[in-house]
């Protein structure tokens, strides 16, 4: 318990930030028209590709002869990159439909 209290008190601002981020996540989406559900899902999915940053860090910190880590890292990078690039690109294609006429 004490540990938890300590963690809480020490990371107070981070916790504020997390809670506010959650509220913001809710708030931003809560009034979206149904037609945008799919593109929005797709856009959010692309953002979740931010996990690729972890993969970059993993490789950068790996020793150059740690081939296991490096290979895992590269796989992670490939997967993450597909998610990021594909995600944004596919969202963009979906949203092309929304171009205002004239």
């Amino acid at each position: 318990m004490e540990q938890f209290f300590e963690f809480f008190n020490e990371n107070l601002i981070l916790i504020y930030l997390l809670i506010f981020t959650i509220v913001l996540g809710f708030e931003v989406i809560s009034k979206v028209p149904t037609v945008l559900h799919t593109p929005l899902m797709s856009g959010a999915n692309a953002i979740s590709g931010v996990v690729i940053i972890g993969a970059i860090l993993l490789i950068r910190q790996a020793t150059p002869d740690d081939y296991l880590t490096l290979s895992l890292g590269v796989i992670a990078i490939i997967l993450g990159m597909i998610n990021v690039v594909g995600g944004f690109a596919v969202t963009d294609r979906m949203l092309e439909m929304f171009k205002k006429k004239k």
Partner: protein, 464 residues
């Protein structure tokens, strides 16, 4: 100091771009900008991560750039190639890969930890296990969702008897193992834990109906977000944390919204079972299936078309929907859509029935096309909306010599690009005969009372 400021600032910009991008994404006018905005933020963040000073880092840039190039190209090409109709599948598979990425990361970190290469606090181990679990579900769940949407698997074949109970047991086993791993180090068990998570993801999605897949994808998307956030905690990376949490939160709320739009509860969807039948349509001769369309897709189709022809029938009169119909017309016209009415000579139950109705709704005479004009115009029409008409748009009159109405001139709505039929059921009209139009590949049914459907369409169009 200054350099790390720039890195920090880049991350801040990245985080802000995610928030603002999502915000812009939630309105049709700005959605595209929002996506680009978030994409740029992501780019900035990736570059910052590449160049940020790391003590004692080997960097291994070649590996990184190579991986990025491969992934980038695959992503780009598949995004370009995918058919418009297969978008949800694509999103699903992308999402699965994101989850897989998180799984790989967590596994690599755990491996390094078990191998004694890295140090990790107890909390960090717990977080890595969480990442493994939730990322694993997102991974296999998304793959199965993809397969279901692509029609690669039948709903029934992937459901075991008492599937929900099996799922429950699987979940408990996996979680117990997770807790054990939290307290005891074991690479083998960690791999088993990962495998179980992957199986659970698969099994979790299995019983859910094909039509509910978008909801599931959205939920899995928020899982991926959470796994990214958890990975962010491992790496002490604010941007991953914030971005992941943001996706987790907005994905969750989006999932709920999608369920609401379908008039179902999330629980209902996840328990699955009857979900599959919701949009399956009714069959003719036992094998043909009429596709149905939901209000928002219909609205968007109408709104973004160039030309619309409305075919009123007796159902319009029964529903007394003439005024709402005119409202939809007005809304579309206001957006530059060209709207006309095709009046079949025998539509309704008395000569001029449709004229009376449309005059009541103040539809100007020049908007009314008679049979010949309409059949000429239909060829270049984007969307035909058949409002409570049936016999007058029956293709049997053209191509089925056995039909009692064979030879009657009808409105050839199938010449248009897409057809939406508004009626309450699959029941026949006055002539009492089946209408193959409903099973036409271009056609979608919008079931419900015409007045109701039209006023829902109107409010939906207003939000665009």
């Amino acid at each position: 100091m200054g350099f790390s400021f720039i890195i920090n600032l880049s991350y801040l910009v990245g985080a802000f771009s995610f928030v603002w991008g999502l915000r812009l994404l939630s309105s049709p006018d700005s959605a595209r900008r929002g996506n680009i905005f978030a994409g740029i933020g992501m780019g900035v963040a990736i570059v910052a991560t590449m160049i940020m000073p790391l003590v004692d880092a080997a960097n291994n840039y070649a590996w990184i750039l190579g991986g990025m190039a491969i992934g980038g190209i695959i992503g780009l090409i598949s995004a370009r190639r995918v058919q418009m109709t297969s978008m949800p599948q694509m999103v699903s598979i992308f999402n699965g890969l994101g989850g897989a990425c998180a799984v790989v990361l967590a596994m690599a970190e755990l491996n390094n930890y078990y191998a004694g290469i890295n140090e990790m606090s107890l909390g960090a181990v717990g977080i890595a296990l969480f990442t493994l679990f939730i990322g694993g579900i997102a991974f296999t769940g998304s793959l199965l969702a993809f397969a279901k949407l692509e029609g690669l698997v039948w709903d029934s074949t992937v459901t075991l008897p008492k599937h929900n109970i099996i799922n429950m047991i699987l979940l408990v086993v996996t979680l117990t193992l997770g807790i054990y791993l939290f307290l005891n180090d074991s690479l083998t068990l960690a791999l088993v834990f990962m495998a179980l998570s992957l199986v659970y993801g698969f099994s979790f999605v299995a019983p859910i109906g094909g039509a509910d897949m978008p909801v599931v994808i959205s939920l899995l998307n928020s899982f991926t977000g959470l796994s990214a956030a958890a990975a962010g905690l491992i790496y002490g990376n604010n941007l991953m944390l914030v971005g992941g949490i943001l996706v987790g939160a907005s994905g969750t709320i989006l999932t709920v919204l999608m369920c609401n739009a379908m008039n179902r509860s999330l629980f209902n969807v996840l328990i699955g079972g009857f979900g599959g039948s919701a949009a399956a349509g009714k069959s003719l001769d036992g094998d043909q299936v009429a596709k149905s369309v939901n209000i928002n897709d219909a609205a968007i189709q109408l709104f973004y078309s160039q030309s619309v022809i409305i075919v009123p029938g007796y159902g319009l009169a029964v529903a007394q929907a003439q005024k709402v119909c005119k409202e939809v017309d007005d809304l579309l016209e206001a957006n530059g859509v060209d709207v006309k009415y095709a009046i079949h000579p025998v539509a309704g139950r008395m000569p001029g029935h449709m004229n009376v109705l449309l005059a009541e709704a103040d539809v100007p005479y020049p908007k009314l096309l008679d049979l010949e004009e309409a059949n000429a115009a239909l060829k270049s029409t984007d969307v035909v909306v058949v409002v409570g008409a049936n016999d007058v748009v029956n293709p049997s009159a053209e191509d089925d010599p056995a039909s009692p109405i064979y030879g009657m001139p009808v409105l050839k709505v199938w010449d248009a690009k897409t057809i939406i039929v508004l009626k309450r059921s699959m029941r026949p009209g006055y002539a009492g005969i089946q209408n193959p139009l409903f099973f036409h590949e271009k056609n979608k049914m919008l079931f419900g009372d015409a007045k109701d459907s039209l006023s829902k369409l109107a409010s939906e169009i207003k939000t665009l």
